[in-house]
């Protein structure tokens, strides 16, 4: 048990029903005796089989019955503050769907954390089987408040106020507080019955009860809710979430490829070159930094790679996700990542949720296309620092160098003094050669740009 304790998954400590731990590089789930009764019901009632049949939960292989299970490994772990609006919406709908199915088998979700959902490509999947417990007739949904904080609040704020408010999920690990949400939402939402009840009234009641702390309710158990009423409540939550849409705001990047920086031939040549370079890489996972709406992530995917398709632009990632969802793609995961301020580690002891680059590790292939000029000129990172940075996050690197003469760089330089003396092809090659071996390089036809395949020394 001591060896287990020393290899505990850092985020797995809140629920006493069990925990995740690592052994010989494999992940296992330990089920505590206190959960055995619930677990037996989960397996014997047929709920587990049903959830697996519908592909809603991660499969667990039995190692020791009712004790140790081995969950299928996820290709990559991502967090709610990295998901696009529609991804978060689908994660919310998955949680409600599981709760509704569970009620039919007399079980209920005892928590509704957004971190219990993960994505395999564009498909959300529920990972925490110990969240399901036996339903007691008349009990309200214990996870209602958590569901509103983790899902409903951010979705409403993104849809009705400003999509960038999603970043509040980063500073609030247990979801956006309902009083904050109530204050931020437009006053017109008071006229919407569902928002009025689930957010404004909910926030008001929480505040009122806090004020009454010296006179707490004598018996919580008087609060009863029939199964039918609970099902109606879930349907109402489902309806409001389904009705939410992201306002059609165009950003610079979401429209990037429509503006066209390349002529057709040059673009095709670039695609061909990337296909060839990626074909020479070993890693099964590609991290596409600055993926925009994911055109080159698709090429990496065609080369047989699982792709983490990142961009800082919310709407570009949203477009990417919607397209992949339409195609039922399970191999490209679109995430909102700002390379200048990537997801940090957060939570208890700063270990509960890992930083983005802790999760990618340093042995994957990185795709950095049309990116370096933004990092050097817009974000002022010296080329030497850029080389050091890339060497720390990947083993193989496919990178595009965009010279000063390029129209996009000229645009960036038009509003500032050119203090970027280290930004040239020669210095770029020299600095990157300190950390990488340049395996291949080629000029992109009909452009001034160069593409490189590099391998860390």
């Amino acid at each position: 048990m001591d060896s287990i304790n020393s290899n505990l998954q850092a985020s797995s400590f809140r629920d006493p029903s069990g925990f995740l731990y690592w052994q010989d590089g494999e992940l296992y789930r330990f089920v505590d005796d206190s959960y055995k009764e619930n677990f037996e019901h989960l397996l014997d009632s047929g709920l587990w089989e049903q959830l697996l049949k519908q592909n809603l939960v991660v499969n667990h292989k039995e190692i020791d019955k009712y004790k140790i299970y081995k969950p299928d490994m996820l290709p990559f772990v991502s967090y709610p503050y990295e998901w696009s609006f529609s991804a978060l919406k689908n994660a919310a709908l998955l949680t409600l769907k599981i709760q509704k199915i569970s009620l039919k088998y007399n079980m209920t979700l005892k928590d509704a954390s957004a971190y219990n959902v993960q994505f395999i490509g564009s498909k959300p999947i529920f990972i925490d089987i110990l969240s399901l417990e036996k339903y007691v007739e008349g009990t309200p949904w214990i996870a209602y408040k958590q569901f509103c904080q983790h899902f409903l609040a951010p979705l409403l704020l993104m849809s009705l106020k400003e999509y960038k408010l999603q970043s509040l999920l980063l500073s609030n690990i247990d979801g956006i507080p309902l009083d904050t949400t109530s204050n931020l939402l437009p006053k017109t939402t008071l006229l919407n019955f569902s928002i009025l009840t689930h957010i404004h009234f909910n926030a008001f009641m929480q505040k009122s009860m806090q004020a009454m702390q010296d006179k707490p309710l004598k018996n919580n158990n008087n609060l009863k809710l029939s199964k039918n009423s609970l099902a109606n409540l879930l349907t109402d939550l489902e309806n409001i979430i389904k009705s939410l849409k992201l306002k059609d705001n165009k950003t610079v990047w979401a429209d990037y490829y429509n503006i066209k920086n390349y002529d057709e031939d040059s673009f095709e040549y670039k695609k061909q070159l990337i296909r060839e370079y990626l074909g020479l890489t070993q890693s099964e996972t590609v991290v596409d930094l600055g993926a925009n709406t994911g055109i080159f992530s698709k090429i990496a995917n065609e080369a047989g790679k699982y792709v983490i398709s990142c961009d800082m632009d919310y709407l570009a990632v949203e477009n990417n996700y919607l397209q992949l969802k339409k195609e039922k793609n399970r191999k490209i995961l679109p995430l909102i990542i700002d390379l200048c301020a990537p997801s940090p580690c957060i939570g208890w002891s700063c270990k509960e949720r890992m930083s983005f680059f802790e999760r990618t590790g340093n042995d994957k292939t990185v795709l950095a296309l049309a990116l370096i000029h933004h990092l050097r000129i817009s974000n002022n990172v010296p080329v030497r620092k850029l080389a050091e940075f890339f060497a720390g996050i990947c083993r193989e690197l496919v990178i595009e160098f965009v010279p000063k003469e390029d129209s996009m760089v000229q645009k960036l330089l038009s509003t500032r003094e050119d203090i970027f003396n280290d930004y040239s092809k020669e210095i770029f090659e020299q600095e990157f050669s300190n950390y990488f071996t340049i395996v291949k390089s080629s000029q992109i036809e009909n452009s001034l740009r160069f593409l490189y395949l590099m391998e860390r020394k």
Binding site: V136, T139, W141, C148, F193, N202, M205, N221
Partner: protein
Amino acid sequence: MSGELFICYIDPGTGSFVAQVAAAAAIGIIISIKSFWLNIKLFFTSLFSKKQASEDENSENSEDSGLN
């Protein structure tokens, strides 16, 4: 179990419990009103369509008789 109904490892918030029960009750009332309204609508629609059908039948019969 039922004696310790609300002992759980996350804080469900008493206020949120009250809000949930009230919300579910309000949703229940709305659903009842909706279904009551739907029944009234259905009643009149079926009444009207019956009337219409019988009128159609009558007119068909009269047309038939005219043809005869």
